[in-house]
């Protein structure tokens, strides 16, 4: 009995796309105000140093410079951070990474602000940078923060590892290393600030959670929440990199002190140096299976370099540990994780949120075990995959719908996997395949926790306004960062109310107008906010029914909208007869259900998305170049709300997964960044992503989600990287344990294999 109306699951045009293709959308970096100041940040000159003195006078002498702010000008708490407020708004005694802000310069022009920033004189006592996390953890290491350098650690144990390994026919043990990488969102950190018509200090800047940004700004400025307004409806990409505060507090501070509108736009170099990164992780995996191919043991140790400040390093490590055993039934598990402070930039949220790193190690191990057991890689995964009710790696039951096995079977049926044993140069599809090209196909299966996990408040509230003409406006506090969620919300609303999309509009992300819908992260918005939209639609029909009962004497029960008419038990009446000229507004909130038992620090999640990726590569054994030639994504994100959005996110995830596997690495030396632009930090271009991209929805409906939907934005990327790694191993018979795998690595490995 499927009553899904056609708009849900359909290919619809994004509501924001027409303005975007016309170049009319105003992004945070496009906004200007009359009389505004440009604000530039003076950043640390050393990755680790003590500040002796800050002299702002030379900057004030630059024509056009209006104000220079230092830590003395922070009226509230000079600290911010999503989880732990250990990061100074403006440094006062010490700098801990090159992105640290020491002073702010406000000037009439961008040039003057830059010149002013260059002239601020900071006297430093340079300290030895701490760049090796293992050394930072060692006793006696110089502490970067009062509680020492181990920012967070976790230890989990289930079953009996020694006894488990004793029963294994195959044991595989390896170390893996994954690099720091940058989100490389196309729009750098930017925005404006001003006092609005109600005297509220307003920040209209990039971000991923307006209500948390509001709290962080208010805390630093010592203002009550209601005097701070934050908005960020349209953002030029984020991927987790704008989850932590970037420009917001600095903008607010300059407007607060000068009473003038202000504007900031980070340069690309500043962006790469200053914002959070994906944690570089060194991991050790020891895994084992019995002769029948039953996975018996997973032992993992993670050392994550969290850099100078906490941000979300703790939760990222938790998610890494939570997903250490992946989507598999494993009776014996031991996981140890450390997130360690260093002077290497600072790390935080990034698509996949820790799961990404663990998946690289585990899915490599899965292939190695399958090979040792002479089992088909997908059969081995299918045999061990979690089902609903099974205990996950850390020992809690999977109570959500689990589509992991179905994604594996979908991949088995896919053309790419079935072509796996076709060997170069005989592959008919590419008759020109040269003898020096090697073709390989690899797979990876994964799961990804959805939402924030137990212990972290995870709710979404939305507002819905019905006008007397029957048109509706939805208000939600999440950001449109490219993922297409605003369109999907309206599809859900349209589906539930039976009102066409053309009669619906959307207001997003403004603390003055939209309720708190939670973060725009963690693959959660379609699930959590989408569900709140469903609840709001139901509530609206209920309220309309109640009012029609009172006004028209209709029998109790919900009333339906039909154009500008109301339909119910008593027939049809013009909506205007009920509402007059007034709008009818309802609010609804959805509290994301959580696991029954908390394991500490936000663990575990209750809901997960699942996916199996199949990747094909061609490796040139003469040059070492690796070309990804096809990728198939079999994704369980529950019911698909927007087919085009689903495919778009999947393909974007594939591109990012390829980048992580083959080219991306933020390189540092002594805490200094060596890759601060797009010619040294290389991300995939149109020449690096294959034409052959296929996304297969595996729709295992999650009853708690709207129409049974879950998010896939992270699942879309996470499995791609290990699938590419496994494809390279399939092509060459050589396996790589360190990312990214570059041409020179391939050549060196082939050379070594020969000798």
């Amino acid at each position: 009995m499927d009553k899904t109306p056609s708009v849900v699951g359909a290919r619809v045009k994004r509501i924001d796309a027409e303005d975007k293709v016309a170049g009319r959308t105003l992004y945070p970096s496009d906004k200007t105000l009359p009389g505004m100041l440009w604000v530039e940040v003076v950043r640390a000159a050393h990755p680790h140093a003590r500040i002796r003195e800050i002299d702002v006078k030379p900057a004030l002498e630059v024509p056009g410079v209006v104000r220079v702010l230092t830590h003395r000008d922070v009226p509230g708490e000079n600290a911010f951070g999503i989880q732990i407020q250990d990061m100074p708004v403006l440094c006062f005694d010490r700098v801990r990474y090159l992105g640290d802000a020491v002073a702010l310069v406000g000037a009439e022009t961008r040039q003057a602000a830059r010149e002013g920033a260059r002239r601020v004189r900071v006297d430093y006592e340079v300290l030895e940078p701490i760049t090796d996390p293992e050394a930072a953890m060692a006793p006696g290491a110089v502490a970067l923060h009062p509680k020492g350098n181990i920012m967070h650690q976790g230890h989990f144990e289930k079953g009996d590892l020694a006894a488990g390994f004793a029963c294994c026919a195959v044991i595989v043990e390896n170390d893996y290393s994954v690099p720091m990488i940058d989100h490389a969102f196309l729009e750098t950190e930017a925005g404006i600030s001003y006092y609005d018509e109600h005297g509220r200090l307003t920040v209209d800047a990039c971000g991923q959670y307006i209500y948390r940004d509001q709290t962080q700004i208010a805390r630093a400025l010592g203002l009550p929440l209601h005097q701070v307004r934050v908005m960020a409806p349209i953002v030029g990409g984020a991927f987790g990199g704008k989850d932590e505060v970037t420009v917001q507090i600095h903008l607010a501070l300059m407007t607060f002190h000068t009473q003038r509108p202000c504007r900031m736009v980070a340069t690309r170099e500043e962006s790469i140096v200053s914002h959070t990164k994906r944690h570089p992780v060194k991991m050790s995996y020891k895994t084992g299976a019995d002769r029948q191919g039953n996975l018996l043991c997973v032992q993992a140790r993670f050392v994550a370099d969290t850099g100078a400040y906490a941000s979300l390093g703790g939760p990222v490590l938790n998610v890494m540990m939570e997903h250490a055993a992946g989507p598999y039934r494993v009776p014996n598990v031991k996981v140890d994780g450390y997130a360690v402070y260093t002077n290497n930039g600072f790390s935080g949220a990034f698509r996949g949120f820790g799961c990404t790193q663990a998946c690289v190690g585990l899915e490599s191990q899965m292939d190695l075990m399958a090979a040792a057991l002479r089992l088909d890689p997908l059969k081995f995964r299918e045999q061990n995959v979690l089902h609903k009710g099974d205990l996950a790696g850390l020992g809690y039951p999977m109570t959500c719908e689990v589509g992991a096995g179905r994604t594996v079977r979908s991949a088995q049926r896919g053309a790419l996997y079935r072509s796996r044993r076709r060997r170069a140069p005989a592959k008919p599809a590419t008759p020109s395949l040269k003898p020096y090209l090697r073709r390989g196909v690899g797979v990876a299966t994964q799961m990804q926790g959805l939402g924030l996990g137990i212990g972290i408040p995870d709710y979404a509230e939305v507002g819905l306004d019905l006008r007397p003409d029957g048109t509706l406006q939805l208000r939600a506090g999440t950001n449109e960062i490219g993922q297409g969620a605003y369109t999907a919300y309206l599809q859900i609303l349209s589906g539930r109310l039976g009102v066409p999309l053309s009669r619906l509009s959307m207001v997003g992300a403004d603390t003055a107008l939209t309720p708190d819908s939670g973060t725009t992260t963690a693959s959660r918005t379609i699930f959590a906010v989408g569900k709140a939209v469903e609840l709001a639609a139901e509530k609206l029909e209920r309220v309309l029914g109640e009012r029609a009962e009172r006004a028209f004497g209709w029998a109790p029960g919900p009333a339906r909208l039909q154009g500008d008419q109301l339909a119910g038990s008593g027939g049809r009446r013009p909506l205007r007869e009920l509402l007059g000229d007034e709008e009818l507004s309802v609010q609804a909130v959805f509290h994301v259900p959580v696991a029954e038992r908390e394991m500490g620090d936000g663990l575990p999640h209750r809901f997960y998305s699942f996916g199996t990726h199949v990747a094909e590569v061609e490796v040139n054994t003469l040059t070492g170049e690796i070309a990804v030639t096809a990728v198939e994504a079999h994704l369980d994100g529950g019911k698909v709300i927007s087919r085009t959005g689903f495919e778009g996110q999947s393909e974007g995830g594939i591109a990012q997964g390829i980048g992580y596997a083959l080219m991306e690495e933020v390189r540092l030396e002594g805490g200094r960044f060596l890759t601060t632009n797009f010619h040294t930090y290389v991300i995939p271009t149109s020449l690096d992503v294959p034409e052959d991209l296929r996304t297969v929805p595996v729709e295992v409906r999650e009853p708690e989600g709207p129409y049974g939907a879950k998010g896939i934005s992270e699942t879309a990327m996470v499995g791609v990287t290990p699938a590419v790694l496994n494809a390279i191993a399939d092509a060459l018979g050589v396996r790589f344990f360190r990312l990214p795998v570059r041409a020179e690595d391939v050549l060196a490995a082939l050379q070594e294999k020969k000798t």
Partner: protein, 163 residues
């Protein structure tokens, strides 16, 4: 030390006094309020600022405003507007080639420059043409599809106008 220039922007002649080190991008965005061309890197590596200079795609961040003197500049705003979109803009819309959209104007202008020169490009030619335009949200496939669809539409349009 301002330099007087006359430049035709989206069909309209603008007489401006620009700074010697002012980029075309800065002139368009800050003086003329044409923010369709985006500032993604300011060093010619991301393609978000691509506009047409006498019909050819250029990174506006790498061209000095003074160099545009006596020339013709077309930005995304000069291509079409909501309700009256250019075939390329329509195709980007129809093929969901837009996510965050920050790369979109530059991507469309680069594609337009290609199609003006080569109305029937192969997929490889489109790939190469847009390889200087970074997109972090899509996997480029939807963009390539959109460019091909627009090329077809524009060819059909050109044929339709023939007597």
């Amino acid at each position: 030390m301002a330099i007087p220039i006359r430049v035709k922007v989206n069909g309209q002649v603008e007489a401006l006094e620009v700074a010697p080190d002012e980029s075309l991008l800065s002139m368009l965005r800050e003086r003329l309020d044409l923010t369709g061309a985006k500032e993604g890197c300011n060093e010619g590596e991301c393609g978000a600022c691509v506009v047409l200079l006498d019909g050819k795609a250029v990174n506006a961040c790498l061209v000095l405003a003074a160099e545009a003197d006596g020339h013709e500049v077309t930005t995304i705003e000069g291509l079409g507007r909501p309700g009256a979109l250019h075939p390329l803009q329509k195709a980007f819309l129809a093929h969901q080639a837009v996510q965050c959209g920050f790369c979109t104007p530059g991507m469309i202008m680069t594609a337009l420059s290609l199609l003006l020169e080569n109305p029937a490009p192969t997929e490889e030619e489109v790939r190469t043409a847009i390889s200087g335009n970074l997109c972090r949200c899509t996997g480029y496939r939807q963009i390539l599809d959109a460019v091909q669809a627009a090329a077809q539409e524009m060819r059909a349009g050109a044929q339709g106008r023939r007597p």
